[in-house]
Symmetry: C2
Subunit: 222 residues, 2 copies
DNA sequence: GTCTATAAAGTGATAGAC
DNA sequence: GTCTATCACTTTATAGAC
């Protein structure tokens, strides 16, 4: 790490630029020349600060995970609290009232994250890693996704008492799929729905649809 | 059809090898040397048969679309027939009996396609194009996906009379998401469910879950 | 910490012999 | 149709001056 502010500025500029270029081109096609140029930083400094291309790539993921954590952290903390205040004596209606809203809030957060134009880069980076995991996938999954799916699974289990943990987790996978599709198959979805982009209006339609789907999948009436 | 079978063999060997290498490395990172080596074909012949790297890439997509069409074609034809035998006078129960089985058959087919280890390469190629569409995306969407989503949308509309076409299409998107997640987020799903692979047993569990979800989303009881 | 300059290896494409 | 050989260019990484 570099304590001096000069090096820190350089590091951060490189990470920001690299996030965009790696997302756009993928690890291999991305060029360190491009990244250095986009950052306005001399190319040789990449070697100095990150050792090599892979070191820079990992730094991009660590930075991304940290930023996403800051976004969904508050929601996750609320859910943790709700889960800790657990009470198996609750009747079905009370459980729904307690656990469903935070579950929907979490999926809303993920959806907003996936659909937002702002986080385009992150989505691209993560999806590439899902397809062909490198060491960077561990940075993402262990540092972030593990907690999200754990929270979702526990919420689903509370909402569906009969389910085993693996049943609940399978249901979580399909719930996540409904959110994921708007990022992973974005080009196809836009074509299918005849949308130009996923803006606020479109996001609202999607959110409503997903809420209904989740309620239906959890066998909860309106 | 080719008078000289020699060139045809070369073409096909190159397409098979290129499918694997493009899927593994992506368009940019894939090397024509690698492809030629994997095919056991001289590198210069790529230029002769496909003009350049992009020509080979497009040939890979055309070949892929053709093969997938052959797989889902029969199911699609059955659905077309069912839709043509349309009758608005049918009551709800009869519509469910007529339209739900083919819908589930189609999603089952897509799921099997997405989960199969065999079609690993296709999934990778398509997902990459979804994220950063090139002209190859059109080959895939227009040649294949358009028909699938059209069939699904029409089935959903018949099963949910009140829906507008865009409502039905949005529902189709979320249905496809539940299938897609097992390919697009495969690494994460395996981790989440503590599976080593998606084999026949796992596929069966997924299929059951998705059937239940779809029935719930369509507001159809068991 | 930052720069210039360059080494070493890889890339896609193609000319020309057979 | 297929091959060898090679060109023109780009890539990452790094040595060495400041």
């Amino acid at each position: 790490m570099n304590a001096s502010p000069r090096g820190k500025v350089t590091r951060e500029a490189l990470i920001v630029a690299a996030t965009g270029v790696f997302a756009r081109d993928g690890f291999h096609a991305a060029s360190l020349r491009d990244i250095a140029l986009a950052a306005g930083i001399n190319q040789a400094l990449i070697g100095y600060h990150f050792r090599n291309k892979e070191g820079l790539y990992l730094a991009v993921f660590e930075n991304m995970v940290e930023q996403i954590r800051q976004r969904i952290g508050p929601i996750a903390d609320v859910i943790d609290a709700a889960l800790k205040a657990a009470d198996s004596a609750l009747d079905r209606e009370a459980r729904i009232e307690l656990y469903l809203p935070p579950l929907l809030r979490l999926t809303d957060g993920l959806l907003a994250l996936m659909a937002s134009y702002e986080s385009d880069n992150w989505g691209q980076l993560i999806l590439r890693e899902q397809q062909a995991p490198t060491v960077a996938f561990g940075v993402f999954y262990d540092g972030l996704m593990q907690r999200v799916v754990s929270l979702l699974s526990r919420l689903v289990q509370r909402l569906r008492e009969g389910d085993t943990e693996s049943e609940a987790r399978l249901l979580v996978a399909t719930i996540l799929g409904q959110v994921l599709v708007f990022r992973a198959a974005r080009a196809g979805v836009l074509q299918l729905l005849q949308w130009q982009r996923i803006g606020a209006d479109e996001l609202s339609l999607i959110r409503t649809r997903i809420h209904r789907n989740i309620r239906a999948m959890l066998e909860i009436g309106d």
